[in-house]
């Protein structure tokens, strides 16, 4: 009896992620969802710049590598030209919430019918641990060596909260992947975000609180604990917007 299989939507290419990094989990969840929905053949993924830049090697569907922060604009182009394709972006916090803020906000405001997987690990991983737009107040990074000083470099950007103020987006949810229960919820959210696109409902973003043991300077286990103790209190999990569900309720 087979109890564990690699999803078809993932390639055999060994991933380059550090031990204990949760990118692998999220990749797998996305791939499982693609398999379960039977959409691999028509899915086009957009990889960002950041740790997941090489996601184009890991997903079996057609992939496009975008310029830093521009994945939602690229996805907009793909989706407008080929509305029958299922288009998702996979972006980190620097990509989505710093250099690509405009693309994020406006694709949400337009309610582009795309799916956005947003990895928030409060750090720039690829370049070796600099302060991210989502780094916590006081968090020590390479470019905030004395801790993030909010009087100098401002406060973290809370993406779900910010986007929830827009009339545009269909669905915004924040999840985490630091324990089994959370991983299960994360998969549910990701599946919903893809299904929304299939149903033509529009912009769906899942923010995934992830770990970066290497750049946080923690063991993988302590990194997962740090998510519970530091990240989630600042970035509460939950649904920030679900227009269709809200409509159902008012009926």
């Amino acid at each position: 009896m087979v109890v564990f299989e690699k999803p078809h939507a993932l390639t055999d290419v060994p991933m380059h992620y550090c031990p204990g990094c949760t990118h692998g989990i999220v990749h797998r969840l996305v791939a499982e969802v693609i398999d379960e929905l039977g959409i691999e053949g028509k899915t086009v993924g957009i990889a960002p710049v950041g740790c997941s830049v090489m996601a184009y090697n890991y997903f079996n569907c057609d992939m496009i590598e975008a310029a830093h922060g521009r994945a939602p604009a690229v996805a907009t182009g793909v989706k407008r030209a080929e509305p029958d394709n299922i288009v998702f972006t996979y972006q980190g916090d620097g990509d989505l919430a710093s250099i690509g803020t405009a693309e994020t906000v406006h694709s949400a405001a337009r309610n582009e019918n795309i799916t956005v997987i947003f990895i928030n690990n409060a750090i720039y991983g690829m370049t070796g641990g600099q302060m991210a737009p989502t780094s916590l107040p006081g968090q020590v990074t390479q470019t905030s060596p004395y801790g993030r000083d909010v009087t100098q470099c401002g406060f973290p950007v809370k993406v779900c909260e910010m986007l929830s103020q827009l009339d545009g987006p269909e669905y915004l949810e924040r999840v985490a992947v630091n324990n089994v229960k959370n991983v299960k919820n994360a998969k549910k959210a990701i599946k919903k975000a893809f299904r929304n696109q299939i149903d033509g409902k529009g912009f769906s973003l899942v923010e995934v609180i992830s770990s970066c043991p290497t750049n946080w300077g923690l063991t993988p286990q302590n990194a997962l604990k740090w998510i519970d103790e530091k990240m989630i209190p600042y970035y509460p999990l939950g649904v920030y917007k679900d227009r269709s569900a809200a409509k159902e309720e008012t009926k």
Partner: protein, 355 residues
């Protein structure tokens, strides 16, 4: 219908793009090219196409990148400051070998500059325009008819060589109206097996990408790309020679500068001065051969430009500095008058003894 209609350059260009099969346009408002966006906003919804006013020039060029990845013909248009913003996307398009058409209706710079015509983006267009080794095919229309014709040509070349074609126009070309005929025999676009429109579970996944972390590989990609550029240089050079048979003084000019120069040449000829012109239509690839040939008989070249002297460098390179090349220019939105060009021709005739 062969009846000619009067159209603005910007509108003729937009309609020609639609005729060429372009159904996706992304842009951001900027003078003096806004008519292109306005025209597309009106037409695209009626023919099942996309018009999208992007949040920024950067977003617009990346939307172009997305559509191009799917293999469809796509374009964006802007004016000088906006093209600078698109630079990132231009480099990525080149790095990913994606075809696209980009319009630059130039205005005076640098910085915010002005809104009147300019040709000061020549370097930006022909020498790169963003980071990395790459070229764009740069087409310089000198009439409303050419605004349309070169748009069609631009799409064809872009697809053929998997490159960006840029129409380098100026405010005058965009704003003026001339009679134009939009009859084209549009050939079907080539197959694009690299397009990312889903594997249909029938092939390996396609990847559109400009990243390669292995230097040996990246070097190889660059060299292969430049082999393609060699082909473009060999096959696609376009220029017009005007009264060059016996010319002793040769004007080098493109776009509006060439139009102005024609008046000056007519008057110079009337006064017995043998003046002529080589008008590059492709600025990249630059028409080196006709200039090199002309350098054997011409006594002086005059580069007439709406810049501080940019194309003049290519004229000097092409002529291997065998004869003097002087500059006749106005900048900042000013346009050299035919009288000014005539004076430059007369001055050259005096110096070079060209009679």
């Amino acid at each position: 219908m062969s009846e000619k209609v009067l159209m603005k350059g910007n509108e003729a260009l937009a309609e020609a793009a639609i005729i060429a099969g372009c159904r996706h346009y992304f842009g951001y408002p900027i003078t003096p090219q806004t008519e292109v966006a306005a025209y597309m906003a009106k037409r695209m919804p009626k023919i099942g196409g996309t018009f999208l006013q992007a949040e920024s020039e950067i977003a617009a060029i990346n939307m172009v990148y997305g559509v191009s990845s799917t293999g469809h013909r796509v374009m964006t248009s802007s004016s000088s400051p906006g093209i600078s913003l698109k630079g990132e996307g231009l480099s990525y398009l080149a790095g990913s070998d994606l075809p696209a058409l980009v319009i630059n209706v130039q205005r005076g710079g640098p910085g915010l500059g002005g809104i009147q015509p300019s040709q000061a983006d020549y370097f930006q267009a022909t020498k790169g325009g963003a980071h990395g080794d790459f070229h764009m095919i740069v087409l310089a229309p000198a009439s409303v008819q050419e605004m349309a014709d070169l748009t069609v040509k631009g799409f064809e070349l872009a697809d053929k060589y998997r490159m960006t074609s840029m129409i380098l126009a100026d405010g005058t070309m965009g704003q003026m109206m001339e009679p134009v005929s939009l009859e084209y025999d549009i050939k079907p676009a080539p197959e694009k097996p690299w397009a990312t429109t889903g594997t249909k579970m029938q092939r390996e996944h396609n990847i559109v990408n400009s990243l390669s972390l292995v230097p040996e590989e990246l070097e190889k990609f660059n060299i292969e790309r430049y082999k393609r550029y060699d082909e473009v240089e060999k096959n696609e050079v376009m220029y017009e020679e005007y009264m060059m048979d016996d010319a002793e003084i040769c004007i080098a000019a493109f776009g509006i500068a060439a139009r102005v120069s024609k008046n000056a040449i007519t008057e110079a000829r009337r006064q017995g001065i043998k003046a002529g012109m080589i008008r590059p239509i492709t600025l990249w690839p630059f028409p080196k051969t006709p200039f090199k040939k002309a350098a054997q008989s011409v006594k002086q070249f005059i580069s007439v430009e709406l810049s501080m002297g940019q194309m003049i460098e290519d004229v000097r390179l092409a002529t291997e500095c065998r004869v003097p090349v002087t500059l006749c220019n106005r900048v900042g939105g000013m346009i050299p008058s035919p009288e000014m060009v005539l004076e430059a021709i007369k001055e050259a005739a005096k110096n070079g003894g060209a009679r």
